[in-house]
Symmetry: C2
Subunit: 280 residues, 2 copies
């Protein structure tokens, strides 16, 4: 893995030598938020949507931004330029920073802002390789207000991914506490049944994914029949097409769920193209 330049609290430096204090609260408690953003042709895609979600999370957790939010994009663009990586993934982390020992964040007034870039392949017309999914034993708790935000508390998703790794699968499906499908460890979930596109409602526990909400808007614009549906894994086994949405790759088709083949469906390629071509 070659070193890249990262952004850390106003400085640009090699990511391998960039560090935070061992007293940083995101290190101690996962007390932070992050965004993972696709960069294409040197531009972070859907920046306003990512910044809005990050800002909402920061307001909820009461973490201040260390710099004015409008200065973030110029810094991100400079970082992408420094790395000469027009096709990349940009991770932005906002930590509450250091403070006195204990859970209370009252005296923590030095937030940390980090941006790293990671190489990615250019998005072309072809669909990414199909993934194999298993159903995780980890459940999403719909009563947890933190599921709405992309926080640095990610152990449930790491455990789900570990189960996928163990099974030789690419990713794992998480159900919610009522037994309905919610999301995968790193993506939102859509399926097709009788030419209708379905996705779990936000109340069922998935992250409010950027690509998910873009696809909901595009489906309305393209008059694609769409429903927000609570479904059980057995419903997915009977579906006519299944795919994941995530910011880094738009769409990933699913080949199997728990070892059972999932059919391909032409709507998946249509969604892939529509997402790729959307510019806002």
């Amino acid at each position: 893995m070659p070193a890249h330049i990262c952004y850390l609290n106003g400085q640009f430096l090699p990511d391998r030598s960039a560090t935070v204090s061992i007293l940083d609260r995101s290190f101690l408690y996962g007390d932070g938020l992050f965004e993972t953003i696709r960069v294409s042709n040197g531009q972070p895609r859907h920046w306003p949507r990512h910044l809005t979600r990050l800002t909402q999370g920061a307001r909820f957790l009461r973490i201040q931004f260390p710099i004015p939010q409008e200065t973030l994009l110029p810094q991100a663009l400079h970082l992408i330029h420094l790395n000469n990586l027009p096709e990349a993934i940009l991770r932005l982390t906002l930590s509450r920073g250091t403070g006195p020992r204990g859970y209370s964040p009252r005296a923590s007034t030095h937030p940390a802002l980090v941006m790293t870039v990671h190489p990615a392949q250019a998005c072309d017309d072809s669909l990414p390789p199909h993934w194999h999914l298993i159903t995780s034993s980890i459940r999403v708790n719909t009563a947890d207000p933190l599921t709405r935000f992309k926080t640095c508390n990610r152990l449930p998703y790491i455990l789900a991914q570990l189960e996928a790794d163990d099974a030789g699968a690419n990713d794992a499906l998480l159900l919610n506490n009522a037994g309905f499908v919610a999301e995968s460890s790193c993506a939102n979930l859509f399926w097709i049944h009788n030419d209708v596109l379905h996705t779990p409602p936000l109340a069922s526990g998935p992250l409010d994914g950027i690509t998910r909400s873009r696809l909901l808007q595009l489906a309305a614009q393209l008059n694609l029949p769409l429903a927000q549906t609570d479904a059980r894994p057995t419903d997915l086994h009977a579906c006519h097409g299944l795919f994941l949405t995530l910011s880094t790759r738009n769409v990933i088709p699913v080949a199997t769920l728990d070892g059972q083949p999932i059919p391909a469906h032409p709507l998946i390629r249509l969604c892939h193209r529509a997402l790729r071509d959307q510019n806002d």
Copy 2:
């Protein structure tokens, strides 16, 4: 806050200049575990219990120790000696360390081990000051396997503590998803009703606290009537005494819950003394 010496992956250095990579997974995802250990007369109290809990969590999350576990205590003792802090709190953090981007920990093979010390007052015969508690809106999910371990995913407890801060209280009571009391943001909970000591069972979602399990053993040795009981906040309002247990201070009596006074009870002092005098 004066600087102290900390331990970081085999080195002893000032905690203010001790850092971890911005690619460390505990910073990125809270992918780590910790223990908070009372130090008295230069000795970490109940070290084997803390090490056992940490080891069980590490096995569950599949995080390796970077050094043999039996070398940890000598390093901790050296750290306490270097800081000349015979009365202290020792925090031990085990992070999965750095690895490739993404949730899968498969290629993360460089765990990080950090120990910090924080000054504390000597434990004497007097009870600590009474705390004021509120009931938090945050719920503990009893189906979450992570509640059994002291992981670095601590945002629910930070949110609960924020609610306490807002209300001018010291700490917040967390209920579980069934509406029964589970724990406080940083401690286990005991109450007294008709001279019987009660605490929520582990199945109700509290952390398996070291001081909680010590007190359960002591109660059996001292023939104190004890029950593991599911209770609602209304039951606590009708109790005859309420206190918290935590490693750093043994016992903290509760003065009020949601603004309503809680009576004092002689059993609280008895528990405080029994815990203080226990040596294992």
